[in-house]
Symmetry: C2
Subunit: 309 residues, 2 copies
């Protein structure tokens, strides 16, 4: 195998009740990366489509994560990377994660899989650090492991895949405004009350129990965030309207995807997810906002191989 | 059925990672209650053994919970209650919960079970309120549902049983000092950092995932409490020594039971639980402290019927 084309999916982090620890993997929306072995050692980004991004491998997250992998791996070849961006940077659905996870996944395949997908997370996290300044694992773990993923302790590489109950769909709307992760972090409070801590603990615990027992009602009433969402949602136009209309159209839950501005709704079955998409569109169509909208089942597989040569 | 004798178990709340939301049900150690139907309406506590406690039904938690049940239930008889205390008040293993849950369980049986065990929790919580001033559900839910239990939102009666992985044993040591729940609440901080909140969320979420996947390593590294334990443990003699020796003798985890002073260790298999008990004893035998020690499997059933007439 000398060349591989992969689909590297967008991801939804936080999921209301799991700030910095929960992630879910989408399908349909993502980046495509083509990676080719070269005789000349080193990494070169040869082509980027879909977005204007740097080809400098110490700046572009796909280069940064690839370099992290090669620092720990003996190889007698180099790699050319083409990046076809399907996820817009700053959208809140793991744009940098898709590229940084995709590149290490592809290189690992070309090398005969010396690493498990889980082991690749630490390299992909270096890409995340280049993008947002910290070693965040939630989006890259979701992209590499698929399904719902949990980051117990990112810095100590303690993350794992949860189970994936059937029939769940995401509807994600991305209003075309950019919120920098650093800005959406700056708006957060530094301290919360013990009662809020207990409430958040109760929500994440119940959510996990709901996942493992296919209890959709429990999942729905656990995806609540009374700490982060009230602050960050002020940065997102019409957040409350989108949330209200999603819930009244059958969403189990609705919240901010990652640090926003994308808003996700989770629902059971494609038909409900589609109704929610139509309802969300109605809200933004009354404004001047441009937006993208995606409907996606849970992608249980994570990054997918499209083609090898 | 005119008379019933029940065993109402002690319980371990909090379990390090689930402050106010997690509980587990013990076996072997608990109260016994005998409840008899009487022609004369009303509740009378006729006998209490094992402890000096008030027989006033508006003060004794078994009376308070029974009254709460009768307020919502039409009955044409009354009840006599005998309480044989096996759990010492102020021990931190749910002494009041055992009595308040036991009395409503027994009365419900005598009435032909108009309520599910889950529905009885709200009545038992009234007993807890009489004991500690607030409607705490974690211990009574564990006593009534058995196994590991989760309180998502006690005030709104949102609690449920988790699963019970096999082979788990508790070792619980109770140093004979009394810590009032109100005092151990007063020592708590009012606010925690966002990082601590995330850490606690990560621990409870991972613990629940560990339970549902029989992943004992994950359970072990999730039963961590860096918010409450550092404060409350200062009230418990030799806490750090007990914890250290428990972990070095094979405990998956060790922490404060409820608001203390009892200390629990969780381990896999009776033999390890017994080793831990011996090791714990060694620590306290070097002091003047008196103590009780219990080894118990998880009681998956909860309150048990001993005899009916």
């Amino acid at each position: 195998m000398n060349e591989i084309r992969v689909f590297s999916p967008a991801t939804v982090a936080n999921l209301s009740c799991g700030f910095d620890i929960l992630g879910a993997c989408l399908d349909k929306v993502g980046d495509e990366l083509v990676v080719r072995k070269t005789k000349k050692k080193g990494i070169v980004i040869t082509k980027i489509t879909g977005q204007e991004l740097s080809k400098d491998i110490t700046v572009n997250v796909a280069g940064v994560s690839a370099l992290a992998l090669l620092r720990e791996t003996e190889v007698d070849c180099g790699f050319e990377i083409e990046i076809h961006k399907g996820v817009k940077p700053g959208s809140g659905i793991g744009s940098s994660a898709a590229s940084s996870a995709g590149s290490v996944f592809a290189i690992n395949q070309l090398l005969g899989k010396p690493y498990s997908n889980k082991e690749l997370i630490k390299f992909a996290m270096e890409g995340e650090k280049a993008a947002c300044g910290s070693l965040i694992a939630d989006n890259v773990a979701a992209a590499l492991l698929g399904g719902f993923t949990f980051v117990k302790d990112g810095l100590n590489h303690d993350y794992f895949k949860l189970c994936t109950p059937p029939e769940l769909f995401f509807t994600v709307i991305h209003p075309q405004i950019e919120i920098k992760t650093s800005d959406s972090r700056a708006i957060l409070v530094k301290e919360v009350s013990l009662e809020k801590m207990t409430e958040q603990s109760a929500n994440i615990g119940a959510f996990i129990a709901g996942l493992y027992t296919d209890n959709y009602e429990l999942i729905a009433r656990s995806m609540v965030d009374s700490v982060i969402e009230p602050l960050r949602s002020t940065l997102i136009p019409k957040f409350n309207d989108i949330k209200e209309i999603s819930l009244s159209n059958g969403a189990l839950a609705c919240g901010i995807s990652g640090s926003g501005p994308s808003i996700f709704a989770l629902s059971k079955g494609f038909s409900t997810a589609n109704d929610i998409a139509l309802a969300m569109k109605k809200v933004y169509s009354k404004t001047d906002l441009e937006y993208d909208i995606h409907i996606s089942p849970i992608n249980d597989e994570g990054i997918k191989i499209i083609k090898v040569k």
